[in-house]
């Protein structure tokens, strides 16, 4: 049979779908093939997955390439362009070629008139206040955004990636992070993934707490 460890077998088995679709790196592919050469069971599973993929991709599957009734594509395009043009009408563009002026453009237009001197005075006041508040925070050292319970002990802890359900409220999100004693170090990214840090010896506990939280969709460890 094989002298591959159960953990390695599981890892290789997890890669089989990507071995079958041909997207593994050359190194991963070589590793999978070496294991397949030793394991008849994995070979049979890989062949089965390849057969599933082939049958799903058969050309007689009318869903496969997104073809549909003549005119449907054109109708969809017209609807799409209608939406774009309606939005342009709703918000007359500052830039004629752009339906969505940026915040800066809108702000500068708004400030272009009589508001400009008033804004300048207000901006100066804000800067002065920021300097005063910053100085006070620096003195007390209380400028952390770490949730209560996470304390400073997370400084060198492992990183986790957390994805929340799309319906999770900000309050639920905050409660989940506080409950797990983790602090946000990055995110949410473009795809809604938060990177959080736990205390060095609390990663497993934090993962368990987060997984039990109804607002959390998935948790995984990024660094050991």
């Amino acid at each position: 049979m094989t002298d591959t460890s159960p953990d390695d077998l599981r890892r290789i088995r997890d890669l089989l779908p990507w071995y079958v679709n041909g997207t593994l790196t050359a190194e991963q592919r070589a590793e999978v093939e070496a294991t397949l050469a030793q394991s008849q069971e994995l070979r049979a599973e890989a062949e089965w997955l390849a057969a599933v993929r082939d049958q799903l991709k058969q050309k007689n599957d009318t869903q496969a390439d997104g073809q549909r009734e003549a005119g449907a594509e054109q109708a969809g395009l017209q609807t799409l362009l209608g939406l774009v043009r309606a939005e342009k009408k709703k918000r007359p563009a500052l830039n004629p070629g752009r339906g969505h002026p940026g915040f800066g453009e809108r702000l500068s237009q708004w400030l272009g008139g009589w508001m400009q001197p008033v804004f300048m005075v207000a901006a100066c006041l804000v800067v002065v206040q920021a300097v005063v508040i910053g100085t006070l925070l620096h003195r007390t050292g209380d400028n952390s955004i770490t949730p209560a319970g996470a304390a400073a002990s997370t400084a060198a802890g492992p990183l986790l990636q957390v994805v929340f359900h799309e319906t999770a409220t900000e309050a639920a999100l905050r409660a989940a992070l506080i409950g797990a004693s983790v602090e946000i170090v990055a995110g949410p990214g473009q795809l809604g993934v938060y990177t959080v840090r736990t205390a060095p010896d609390r990663a497993d506990a934090a993962i368990a707490v987060l997984r039990q939280n109804a607002a959390v969709e998935s948790v995984s460890r990024v660094t050991p």
Binding site: P17, N21, E47, A75, E217, S218
Partner: protein, 204 residues
């Protein structure tokens, strides 16, 4: 003034020879033009991607009308947020990620979303008999495969489709599904087990 049919990739220094890479390069250019408000670029992007989005949505929703809605909503969202694309993934992966969220919204609105249970209990199940995979592979039909796929929770079915229909890498599937790569692997693990069990029953 450039007409819709004339929008092409003229501002890339080097056109990739691989057709898939060339398409992605073109999509990136189109996205940049869309971010600058170029409507003809949106028309071309629609031409390049609408079938792929439709097929993706139809497989998720099994409803042609809803799939058409997903196409329009996805490309409208792409237009509105074109400037936010940061180039961390392929454009097509980013767009299908938007389509994923639109399809999920439809499923949720219809109350037909099938939630998954990614518990560990499945790992306790004994391995199948040695000849199980070979026997299923010899007997399974396309119809049976599709019927079994319909029994999978949404995220697992989608992950399987992204790998087998779209031929996406692990990282790309994670990008579309907005989840870590390990979650995708777990989804595929459960999906394969359920498919095997379902096909075992179907091909008996």
């Amino acid at each position: 003034m450039r007409r819709a049919g004339e929008v092409g990739v003229t501002d890339t220094a080097k056109t990739p020879t691989d057709p898939a890479a060339a398409l992605e390069a073109e999509l990136a250019v189109l996205l940049r033009r869309m971010a600058a408000g170029d409507e003809p670029a949106l028309t071309v992007l629609h031409a390049r991607l609408n079938r792929r989005i439709y097929a993706f949505a139809l497989r998720r929703l099994s409803d042609p009308d809803l799939a058409e809605e997903v196409v329009v909503e996805t490309l409208y969202e792409t237009w509105r947020h074109a400037g936010r694309f940061e180039g961390r993934s392929k454009v097509s992966t980013w767009v299908l990620g938007i389509a994923h969220h639109k399809a999920m919204d439809k499923l949720r609105a219809n109350g037909t979303r099938q939630y998954e249970d990614l518990g560990e209990e499945a790992e306790q199940i004994a391995d199948p008999a040695p000849d199980t995979y070979t026997r299923i592979a010899q007997r399974q039909q396309g119809e049976q495969i599709r019927a079994c796929m319909d029994t999978l929770p949404d995220e697992q079915r989608e992950a399987l489709l992204l790998v087998f229909y779209e031929d996406m890498t692990l990282g790309e599937v994670a990008g579309v599904q907005s989840c870590p790569e390990n979650t995708v692997k777990t989804r595929l693990f459960h999906a394969r087990r359920k498919m095997r069990e379902c096909l075992e029953r179907q091909t008996r």
